[in-house]
Symmetry: C2
Subunit: 125 residues, 2 copies
């Protein structure tokens, strides 16, 4: 499982971990029931404190993506994937709306926003 964190990003480390694991689950890289790396191992790999990975796993568990069992580990929980994807959709809506708001106050019309979106979609590997 590939996770990359940046110390310079404004996003806190535990959030970066949450986001990336969440995506791994949603796109199927991490299947239902599969074990996540232990918080200790992950902490070591990322050169980060155990508390930070713990915090991330706590968040994932709260959101319903995983289950943690003392002594055994953390696992991708069986879940309603459609529901989770719907949540992600809401987040996309927020991002798009923010872009629209800025566009409106700086005089960028819809056409241009669409064009930007299309260009960026292709650029984004």
């Amino acid at each position: 499982m590939r996770i990359i964190i940046s110390n310079q990003a404004k996003e806190p480390i535990y959030e970066q971990i949450v986001t990336q694991i969440r995506q791994h689950i949603l796109n199927g890289e991490l299947a239902e029931g599969e074990a996540l790396p232990s918080i200790r191992l992950l902490a070591k790999e990322l050169q980060v404190s155990v508390i930070t990975t713990k915090r991330a796993y706590e968040e994932l568990e709260k959101e319903g993506y995983t289950d943690s069992v003392v002594g055994k580990g953390s696992f991708v929980s069986s879940q309603n994937k459609d529901l989770l994807k719907e949540k992600q959709r809401k987040i996309i809506e927020v991002k798009l709306t923010e872009a629209i708001e800025i566009g409106k106050t700086t005089g960028i019309p819809l056409d241009e926003l669409v064009e930007m979106l299309q260009l960026l979609y292709e650029e984004d590997e």
Copy 2:
């Protein structure tokens, strides 16, 4: 000048102020040379500490949108509006890219993103 702040938002108060004043400048509601409300008055109106409005004005000044003069007030600086708008454009690109990233990991195709963008554009008053 209309500024609305929300205590519940995750965005800090001073950031909310910065964002809204920045937009007022960019869309021409606040013309070059025009005086902003004094930090004291604004603080009173928003039910907020002077330090918070001060912090916001500091940020605006650092970004080149305004100039503050002790004893006189804060004013919209003469500026390269195209340059500023270009900056805003970059921010839009970031938002769109974030939306795209989530879309790609959850299997939402470009068409659908474009559709969402168009719908949201019209909804957004």
